[in-house]
Every structure is written in structure tokens, then in C-alpha cells.
């Protein structure tokens, strides 16, 4: 068997998506962002909507998302991505509009915009990377930081009496009538990656179909912020993060 005989479309298990460019990613080893970026590029390409897709980048590690996925992007002020997506979608109803936000951006400074965009049922997608820490600024406590979790601003571990409870914003958003699809996924195993891909795909379709707000939370690791190896971080996430943030659909009013 020659190599030409092996390289056939039916034998191909993976190819780099065309929309994912060759720029060197600034993400740390083991970071979940790269996988999610790739999924977005893959899905936009598969759905054939690159001329209709508009991404809203956050402030946080993914601030440079626009450097890696070759679609039109707007870089938002910290926390304001859902407000920006609201206006983009209302002014361009035929477009597929998504935000890409971390836990600090979405669940701390941007809580107001998140809740209200979802409550209005804006036909947008919110992709929410939840790693329980502020990565970009050097590992400070996030609203989703677990109790006891050490960060640079909770050096002895998060204390409920001092810092309050970890915020389960995704479950909160699922309560809102404007949301049509709210799900929590991860990208730590091939199986999880495939589930996440399906979730994002459905969310993107919901935006195109005008079904309301979709939120896809992706429970993620931050090996640098957590001060673990990528392998340790995945294990720690499974044992600790999933207990507080269990995976699966929380709400889906758009049955396939």
C-alpha cells in the first residue's frame, strides 16, 4: 500500500481547519483555549458560515483569539462582549454572532451584560471558558474559583467568609426565559472534545435560526495558574471542578 492510497478523505481522522491560521499561539501548554479555538474554526468551516460569522473577543487570555481564527472579530472591553454581540446581531440579523469569554470577564465584571443579553433572548452564542482563575493577569481569584483553591489573591485558599461562594453563573443563566440552550462541557478527553463540538455546533445553529441565547460553558484547566502540569490539571479538574460544575445539558428547548 502506497502513501497515496492511504491519504484518502475516508481515511482522514484529522486535518487542521483552514480558518485556524499558523500564528504561534500564546497559550500555555495544556491550556484549553487552543482546543476550543480549533473547534470554532472547524465548525464555522463545516457549517459554511465564515462569511456570516462575527466573533467577539474578551479581555483575558483569549483577548488575542482574533490572531488565530481567520474570521471578522471585535475586541470588547472587559466584560462587555454580550452587549457588543447584542448590537452586532440586532444590526446584522443574518449573521452568526458569538462571544468568547473567560470566567472573570463573563461572571465578574460582565455579569450585568451576561444576564441581560440572555434575558432579552438575544440570538447570540456565549462561549464561556471556566477555569476558575484569572489567567492573563497572573492567577487571581475568579468568581468561579472553588472553595479552598489557592490563587495569587487567595494565597491560603478561597474562604467563603471572606470571598463568598463560587458562582455557578451557567445555572443562573439557564433560569432565564431568553435562553434556549445552556450546556456545560469540557475538552480534556477526545470524547469530551466531540461533545463540546456538537454543543457549539448546536449553539451556532440556534444563533442562525434566531432561537434565543445559547451558552456553552467549557470547564477548563489553567495549568500555569493552578501551578500544575497539564496532566495534573486535567485530573484535578475532573476531581474538583466537575463536582461543583457537573457536565451535561442544563437546558435545551431546541430539541434536534
Amino acid at each position: 500500500m502506497t502513501i497515496e492510497e492511504i491519504i484518502k478523505p475516508e481515511n482522514r481522522v484529522y486535518a487542521k481547519p483552514r480558518l485556524l491560521n499558523d500564528n504561534n499561539m500564546h497559550y500555555c501548554p495544556g491550556c484549553s483555549h487552543g482546543v476550543v479555538h480549533r473547534l470554532i474554526a472547524e465548525i464555522v468551516e463545516e457549517m459554511g458560515i465564515e462569511d456570516k460569522t462575527i466573533g467577539i473577543a474578551p479581555v483575558g487570555c483569549a483577548v488575542f483569539a482574533y490572531n488565530y481564527v481567520d474570521i471578522d472579530w471585535i475586541e470588547a472591553a472587559h466584560g462587555r462582549a454580550p452587549a457588543i454581540a447584542t448590537a452586532v446581531k440586532r444590526l446584522n440579523p443574518s449573521r452568526m454572532v458569538f462571544t468568547y469569554q473567560g470566567d472573570g470577564d463573563l461572571a465578574a465584571i460582565g455579569t450585568c451584560e451576561t444576564i441581560h443579553a440572555a434575558n432579552r433572548g438575544e440570538n447570540i452564542v456565549i462561549i464561556f471558558i471556566n477555569n476558575g482563575i484569572y489567567g492573563m493577569t497572573g492567577g487571581q481569584m475568579a468568581p468561579t474559583t472553588l472553595e479552598g483553591m489557592k490563587t495569587s489573591t487567595t494565597p491560603y485558599g478561597r474562604r467563603i467568609d471572606l470571598n463568598g461562594y463560587p458562582l455557578n453563573i451557567t445555572s443562573l443563566v439557564a433560569q432565564l426565559d431568553g435562553t434556549c440552550y445552556v450546556t456545560r462541557q469540557a475538552v480534556h478527553t477526545p470524547a469530551a472534545v466531540r461533545k463540546t463540538k456538537n454543543a457549539i455546533k448546536q449553539a451556532f445553529q440556534n444563533s442562525m435560526d434566531g432561537k434565543g441565547t445559547s451558552l456553552v460553558e467549557i470547564v477548563s484547566t489553567c495549568s500555569s495558574g493552578w501551578k500544575m502540569t497539564p496532566v495534573q490539571a486535567n485530573k484535578w479538574m475532573e476531581e474538583n471542578m466537575f463536582a461543583k460544575y457537573p457536565l451535561g445539558d442544563i437546558k435545551n428547548t431546541v430539541k434536534q
Binding site: 462569511d51 472579530w73 462587555r80 452587549a83 452586532v88 450585568c112
Partner: protein, 363 residues
């Protein structure tokens, strides 16, 4: 819609002018004394006629970011608020300026600082003309003194904003916003099509067609050399605006021995003061800056050679006076008269203040 003569409030005129201009989106949040802008737009339902988007946002912060978003898409978008709300918008305005995006922001000023009062003021002059948000940037600042100008400056503001890719602000005060006057509303023009926007704004976020590279609107640049070049580009634009877009109005300056400088509603009150002064034989003229930035330094400097003194009259503790003093470069005495906290002086009070500051004028 054809040209139409109506009697209405300044705030209402802004709303009607926006629909007729072909504005694509308005994003606002209620605050006195400008809520009629949002209310009028909601009542007019322009989404049924022109397709204009009108949205009551969850906050002033959300509203200005919606404007940033719409502007990034090459759309004609605007917001309005009053002083405390405009303070909240400053971060977003800085982003719009840094993104080199066209947009219109309306500030119908009320007294401050803090929550202040709902009554008229001009105390946001510094904020509007000297930056307001963080970083080195300017807004084109238009100061209307009539309801007609409230309507006209919607058109002018957008035209300038798109011409220079920079945000423009209508800096009105509670008087111009709330008073009713006759206004000639321009004939309606259609909103631009997506094709026209793509042609006029090749940088706009539209969804990337296969024929071009991705468009990205970002204000982040970690390469300091590039960031300096970006800033130099902004400054070049501001310089061109300073050269080309200074606007002001003169009133009885030809034979004037003294000059009053005032803007917005205060300029109209001062016109009356000047008429009364002339009946007493005191020749005062008025210069009314229409663009507060760029400021008419040259026009004031030229007049300063012909007069003995200048009184700057503002509804604040002395803000524009700093620009007037810069203009005259110490050539002659420049005094200030202002009322604070929402109080508006009448023409006699202004004249009295003038006579106190310039006792020799009567002789």
C-alpha cells in the same frame, strides 16, 4: 418623509433628526433631562419604517459598548445620556476613539458633580473637550444653542464622524434639551445598504467574504513601537480636524469694545445681555464657539486685538475660560461669570456681572 416644520423639544428634535438621517441604531438608558430622546424613538417605532434599531440597554455602560459594536460594523449608531451617565460611558468612548470608529454621543448636561441635579449645567466642558476617558484622544464636540441646531448637529455630527473616523459629541445642556422651539426637520434619507457600507467602510466587521482578509477591530497593541505609531496616526487626524472643522458664530463683534464668549444656551442669554448693554452705550460683542473641540482659538485671538477685555460666561465654575485664556495668550484681561448647580442667570445678571468685572466700560 419630506422636510417638515414642527414645534418640539430639543431632545425630541434629536430623535426625529436621527430617524431622518438614516441612523442604523440607537442604544440608550433613561436619565433626566434627556429621556425624551429614547422615549420619542420608542414611540416613533422607526424599526417599522427605516429599519433603525432602538434598544433600551441595561446600563449606560452597555449602551456605549453597543455603540462601539455598531460603529465597528460601519453602521451609523448613537447614544445619548446626561452627565452622570456620560461619565459611565467614558471607557467606551475611549475605545471608540482608539478603534477609529465613527459614532455620535449626545450629552444633555445637568449639574454635577456626583448625582448632582437634574437642572441645566455646562460643567462637562472639560470632560468633553479634554478627553474624558483614558488616553490621548479627542472628540469632535458640537455645542447647540437652539432646537434647530439639536436637529442639524445630528447630521453634522455623523458626517464629521464618518469623514474622520472619530466619535463626535453633541454637548447640549438641559435648557436646549427641554425647551420647545420651531424646528425644520430635514427630508428623510434612506439608511445605507450593506453594499454601501462595505464600500464606504472597507474596515467594517461584516462577516468575512472569501474575497478579503479578516477585519478585526481592536484597541489592544502590546508592541510599543506600533502603539506609538497608532497614537501618532490619531494625532494626525486630530490635527487635520483642527485645521478644517473649527466652527463659531459672531454677534455684533464688528464695533465691539468688549467681548463675551459663551456657548450653548448661555450664548443666547448673553445675546440679550449684549442688546441691553448697547442700549446703555456699552459695545459688547459675542463669540459663540460651535465646535468646542476644535476650539476657535484663532478667531478669539484675532478679536482680542480689537477689544479691551473678555468675559467668559458659562454654567460652570470656569472651564472654557481656560481655552479663551490660551487663545489670547495674556493679551488682555479675561474674566469669568458662571452660575452653578443648575441655576441659570438672566440677561440682567450677566450684564451686572460684566459691569462689575469691567467697571471702566460704562465710562
Amino acid at each position: 418623509m419630506k422636510e417638515e416644520v414642527r414645534l418640539m423639544k430639543g431632545n425630541e428634535a434629536i430623535a426625529h433628526a436621527a430617524i431622518r438621517y438614516g441612523v442604523d441604531g440607537y442604544f440608550g438608558y433613561p436619565i433626566t433631562p434627556q429621556s425624551e430622546i429614547l422615549e420619542t424613538l420608542e414611540a416613533e417605532m422607526p424599526w417599522e419604517t427605516t429599519g433603525m434599531v432602538v434598544l433600551q440597554a441595561e446600563s449606560e455602560v452597555a449602551a456605549i459598548n453597543m455603540v462601539y459594536a455598531g460603529a465597528a460594523c460601519g453602521k451609523a449608531v448613537m447614544t445619548s445620556s446626561s452627565s452622570p451617565g456620560v461619565s459611565l460611558k467614558q471607557e467606551g468612548i475611549s475605545y471608540i476613539a482608539a478603534g477609529e470608529l465613527p459614532a455620535l454621543i449626545v450629552n444633555v448636561m445637568r449639574g454635577g458633580p456626583g448625582l448632582g441635579t437634574i437642572h441645566p449645567s455646562q460643567a462637562d466642558y472639560f470632560q468633553a473637550t479634554k478627553g474624558g476617558g483614558h488616553g490621548d484622544y479627542h472628540l469632535i464636540v458640537l455645542a447647540p444653542s437652539t432646537v434647530q441646531e439639536m436637529a442639524d448637529f445630528v447630521t453634522l455630527g455623523f458626517d464629521l464622524a464618518f469623514k474622520y473616523r472619530t466619535p463626535a459629541m453633541i454637548l447640549a445642556d438641559g435648557i436646549v434639551g427641554q425647551m420647545m422651539e420651531k424646528v425644520v426637520l430635514p427630508p428623510a434619507r434612506p439608511r445605507r445598504t450593506d453594499e454601501e457600507i462595505a464600500r464606504q467602510c472597507p474596515w467594517a466587521i461584516t462577516g468575512r467574504p472569501a474575497t478579503r482578509k479578516p477585519n478585526v477591530i481592536t484597541t489592544l497593541e502590546l508592541d510599543t513601537a506600533q502603539m506609538e505609531r497608532n497614537n501618532e496616526r490619531y494625532q494626525r487626524t486630530y490635527h487635520v480636524i483642527e485645521q478644517n472643522e473649527v466652527r463659531y458664530e459672531k454677534f455684533m463683534t464688528e464695533d465691539a469694545d468688549y467681548l463675551i464668549v459663551a456657548f450653548g444656551s448661555m450664548a443666547r442669554i448673553c445675546q440679550k445681555s449684549i442688546e441691553e448693554a448697547r442700549e446703555q452705550g456699552i459695545k459688547i460683542g459675542l463669540i459663540r464657539p460651535i465646535t468646542l473641540w476644535p476650539f476657535p482659538y484663532q478667531a478669539i485671538k484675532e478679536l482680542s486685538d480689537k477689544v479691551k477685555g473678555i468675559l467668559v460666561v458659562e454654567l460652570n465654575a470656569g472651564q472654557m475660560i481656560e481655552d479663551v485664556r490660551l487663545a489670547v495668550e495674556g493679551n488682555l484681561p479675561v474674566h469669568h461669570f458662571g452660575r452653578l448647580g443648575g441655576i441659570v442667570p438672566n440677561p440682567q445678571e450677566v450684564l451686572e456681572a460684566f459691569n462689575n468685572k469691567f467697571p471702566d466700560a460704562k465710562k
